[in-house]
């Protein structure tokens, strides 16, 4: 990152030996509106800002995104979402759930060893102990 007050606007320059798949993916991410995810609810399609998403989860062979305003179906697989969502903010907490770490309001451990995560709006998620190491890595702990 180069900060220069003389620059009129934000510019991104990609240095690469060739136009590879990785470069294409990076370009796609930089496209205006590329960060938004289309959320389906009945016949309605709503562009979802990932920052507003509380969690994404798989249920009945479908993948859903829950925000503070409602739940939307996504046409992506969880592993695809994992790649698309910002890695420093979203983390998989169980086999079927990805959570926005900035929306966590409480975290408790029960006597029986169950880790319960509460998100904004009182949404409760159970963290798989198998994913704890990954969560710690994402948080840089």
């Amino acid at each position: 990152m180069k900060l220069d007050p003389a620059e009129p606007e934000v510019r991104v320059v990609i240095h690469a030996p060739a136009v590879t798949e990785e470069v294409r993916e990076l370009l796609a991410r930089l496209e205006p509106g590329a960060g938004l995810l289309p959320g389906f609810r009945g016949t309605e399609v709503t562009p979802l800002d990932p920052l507003d998403i509380l969690r994404c989860y798989g249920e009945d062979k479908g993948v859903f995104a829950q925000t503070e305003t409602g739940t939307y179906q996504l046409r992506l697989r969880l592993y695809e979402l994992e790649r698309r969502l910002p890695g420093d903010r979203f983390v998989r907490v169980s086999h079927s759930e990805i959570v926005n770490l900035r929306k966590v309001t409480a975290l408790d451990l029960s006597l029986t060893g169950t880790i319960r995560m509460t998100l904004t709006g009182g949404v409760t998620v159970y963290v798989s102990r198998r994913y704890v190491k990954k969560i710690r890595e994402v948080l840089g702990l």
Partner: protein, 278 residues
């Protein structure tokens, strides 16, 4: 691969490792027991099976082979003790089920191999097995707690609110009730009938003062004034067992408990003050 299949494979893998380890451990115990036995065994050979088992199977080789299979089975079951922790739900139930299974297999193997001529020995080892399970749980739980604390900090949540002093002291009280009201009865069951070493020597002169001292030191470190009640509680809690299990000649236990708790509490207070200054 589905989770169930993965778990099944893990059980088989661990059982495969546990079988030879279990068999080897049992023979090692026999060999070490034979080498350090007192009085020294006659002849050069060290027995690897009990005399009762040899008698049951006719000759020592057959008995040793049968014991190999049984001890291998025990090793296989013990090695899978960690598997319930891989389950995400009802871990404690599955861990309890595993303990019961291990206790059943252990009792069966012990009976088949004639390891325990006395019921007390068998009960004592079952108690140790239970202790190992509880310890395993405690170690895991502490690890999970540290993980949760780290994640809480990482996501910017406030530290857990500090519990009121009396709530911090409750576990110490419960522990004292367990050690001073229940443990003597358990030790009496396990004690030898001729010389009650556990209740006569170990409990009043070792377990009781050490427990009172260290638990009070810990309490004194955590609770500023409340620990002063602890020596009184420790002394008072010995009284029911003194009169029900022993007789008035064992009244010294009340003083032993109270003085050890007082000394421990003072040490805890000193440590707390030192930490504060540091």
């Amino acid at each position: 691969m589905s989770e169930r299949k993965e778990l099944f494979r893990e059980v088989l893998r661990r059982a495969g490792i546990g079988f030879p380890c279990g068999a080897a451990a049992v023979y090692l115990v026999f060999l070490l027991g034979g080498l350090f036995a007192f009085p020294v065994q006659e002849g050069n050979s060290v027995p690897v099976v009990t005399a009762a088992m040899v008698e049951q199977w006719g000759n020592p080789v057959t008995a040793a082979l049968v014991q190999f299979l049984w001890s291998g089975l025990l090793g296989a079951v013990l090695e899978t003790a960690e598997v319930p922790f891989r389950l995400e739900r009802h871990t404690w139930i599955w861990s309890g089920v595993h303990f019961l299974l291990t206790a059943a297999v252990f009792s069966l193997v012990g009976y088949q191999c004639r390891w325990f001529p006395y019921r007390e020995t068998w009960l004592c080892i079952l108690g140790l097995l239970l202790l190992c399970y509880l310890l395993m749980w405690a170690v895991r739980y502490v690890g999970w707690r540290q993980d949760v604390r780290a994640i809480r900090k990482g996501v910017g949540l406030p530290e857990e609110p500090e519990r009121p002093v009396w709530r911090r002291a409750v576990p110490y009280g419960l522990l004292a009730v367990g050690v001073e009201l229940m443990l003597p009865w358990l030790l009496r069951v396990l004690d030898a009938r001729d010389v009650p070493v556990l209740t006569g020597i170990f409990y009043p002169f070792l377990i009781l003062p050490l427990f009172c001292f260290f638990s009070s030191a810990s309490l004194g470190k955590r609770c500023r004034r409340l620990w002063l009640c602890y020596p009184v509680l420790c002394g008072a809690l010995t009284l029911p067992c003194v009169f029900l299990l022993y007789n008035s000649s064992a009244l010294f236990q009340a003083w032993v408990a109270a003085i050890a708790a007082l000394a421990g509490g003072l040490l805890g207070t000193l440590l707390r003050q030192r930490t504060k200054r540091g």
